[in-house]
Symmetry: C2
């Protein structure tokens, strides 16, 4: 159990690490950010910073020696990095959660093993395998690399007229899965936290709208039935327990069908604080960032109570140029990430409106 | 007007600077903390840090060159420091506000000039002057140094049996004022912000309870009549305008009398974010720290709307040892300042309960 004055190590220097560090400070905890050279806005709010590649073993050892626990802001932490650190200091969430969620095939099999529904899928290792998979799954379907995909990267849509060899080239001919396309009504997610003692708190289900594969807007309450609200939170609880997870994670779902036939399919698990939980800053009694820090510090979790109706929008690329009019809007929570350069598709900040 | 990415310089490395820096980050603004060697918990959450005496002119020049505006967390900024910085970079609130509030005599005359009531007072420059002042003001009364007093330091109570020579020795035989003792019913304060364009927003009146001259508890709403609530906010508005003030400040009042005879007397002005405004973190739509950053950045002010009934308590000295049970209390906002050493009388953190 950490005590005030202790230092938390965070792998990654982006906005998620930054918001974690901002949440750690009021709890009296310091942060040490470890990130490769680049635009690392989390450096600006942390007590200690190490700029080094994730492969720099000497830097990792010095980092581990300076902190009481290590956590991370992204799921693609190299396995070797996690292994080196784990030998020296507790790493939470545990690296097994990373192994499970870094690989879409392992992840989907794990989710099924929990009795939850995922879109039908087939592993694909070769172009020939892709032909077979399309035969079984049908079109439209989605070809996704097993590893390192996010925000739509590493994906190819298989439409009625898609040339399979081209799709296979497009994703880089790497191990993949073919996933049935779900004609979903909406996308929702549950952000939950699990403590060192196994307590789980889940925030209310969020409804998410994406644009160009990037989260654009999150609203709460989600437009789903009370039955599905319960099922989604329960799925998160089962997943958290099965992973012996400690910290905040998100489960993304597709909602298919409607009325009595409404059904949840698990899309993916994110083993970290999640964009669809950013509304909790100002919109919930305890933010997901504070919740994550509490969990990995071995502290009791806070209340996930929602303070009102929520509308959270991401500021992507040039959206953030509107900052002057946004900060002038009464009651709007504006959160800018301090990134030095705005690029198309880059998450620059978010805004949340809480209506009571 | 500052824009996201710009850097704010803050003089002082304590909890007020720390909470300002934590509020600046979500607005995309960086902070550079300047403070003398010592326990500077604000260093842990700032992009840049300079550890140097306030008299180090080279360090001040380098600091000024690195920031877009300078502000401060404490009223006793040396006049020479403010002068050096003002020549190089905007200093907000303006140093004239410091000059007015650093000296109790100048401050009281200024407040009276605004048509506001202060406890009766007499300047005291010698022991003989103290005898004369006591003759006019009477006992009980309070002898206070003109400069550098806070949290009860530099004060001596003149009771019926107090030896005046001893009291004069006690405060260090420095220029002082003798103030009539006000048999007050309660102490209240208004925290307000004034923008670069002269807009003022005032938070609701807070009722404060002190222990050993240190703020122990702030509750809202204050137990005063609606008439006094209006008068207190109006006093803050007048004071802010007369000082051409930019930023957050607090006005402390005594409430004397009761019912129709209830009356406000101004005790003092604090030209900075104020302990009696800490409840705004989690208890108001915009915290006093964000409000201060908005003001000195030249941005519009946020809504001061209070989110519920407030009970804020300071964690003084060993109070903070109870952190483990405090962070386990549902719905309690815990804020620890990250100080490395707990001493009796030292402010280590605060807790706020917001009841809706």
């Amino acid at each position: 159990m950490l005590k005030p004055g202790d230092t938390i190590g965070i792998l990654g220097g982006g906005q998620l690490a930054r918001m974690m560090a901002l949440a750690a400070a009021p709890l009296g905890l310091k942060c040490h950010i470890f990130a490769p050279a680049g635009d690392n806005p989390a450096f600006d709010v942390a007590a200690q910073r190490t700029e080094a590649p994730y492969e720099d073993e000497a830097a990792l050892a010095a980092f581990a020696a300076s902190v009481a626990v290590v956590t991370y802001e992204f799921e693609n932490v190299p396995a070797r990095t996690a292994e080196i650190l784990s030998a020296l200091v507790p790493v939470l969430p545990n690296p097994q959660a990373l192994e499970t969620t870094q690989d879409r095939l392992i992840e989907k099999r794990f989710i099924r093993a929990q009795g939850l529904i995922v879109p039908d899928f087939e592993p694909v290792d070769t172009l020939e395998g892709l032909y077979h998979a399309v035969e079984r799954i049908g079109r439209p379907s989605v070809l996704k690399t097993r590893r390192f995909g996010y925000d739509g990267k590493g994906q190819a849509m298989i439409r009625p007229d898609t040339d399979l060899a081209e799709a296979w080239d497009q994703i880089g001919r790497t191990p993949a899965i073919l996933e049935a396309f779900v004609p979903f009504e909406r996308e929702v997610s549950v952000v939950a936290a699990r403590s060192l003692t196994g307590d789980v708190v889940a925030y209310d289900v969020a409804e998410n709208r994406h644009a160009h594969h990037i989260l654009a807007e999150t609203i709460l309450p989600a437009n789903i039935t009370p039955r599905l609200e319960v099922e989604a939170k329960d799925a998160a609880r089962r997943i958290g327990a099965a992973l012996s997870y400690v910290g905040v994670f998100a489960v993304e779902f597709f909602v298919a069908g409607s009325g009595e036939g409404e059904q949840l399919l698990v899309n993916e698990i994110a083993p970290r604080v999640h964009n669809s939980g950013h509304w909790t800053l100002g919109g919930a009694e305890t933010s997901q960032f504070e919740q994550h820090i509490r969990a990995i510090a071995g502290w009791p979790l806070g209340s996930p109570r929602r303070l009102g109706r929520i509308d959270m929008r991401n500021l992507i690329g040039s959206d953030a140029d509107q900052w002057a009019s946004l900060v002038a809007e009464p009651g709007l929570h504006v959160h800018l990430y301090g990134k030095s350069e705005s690029r198309p598709g880059r998450k620059m900040g978010h805004i949340t409106r809480v209506t009571i």
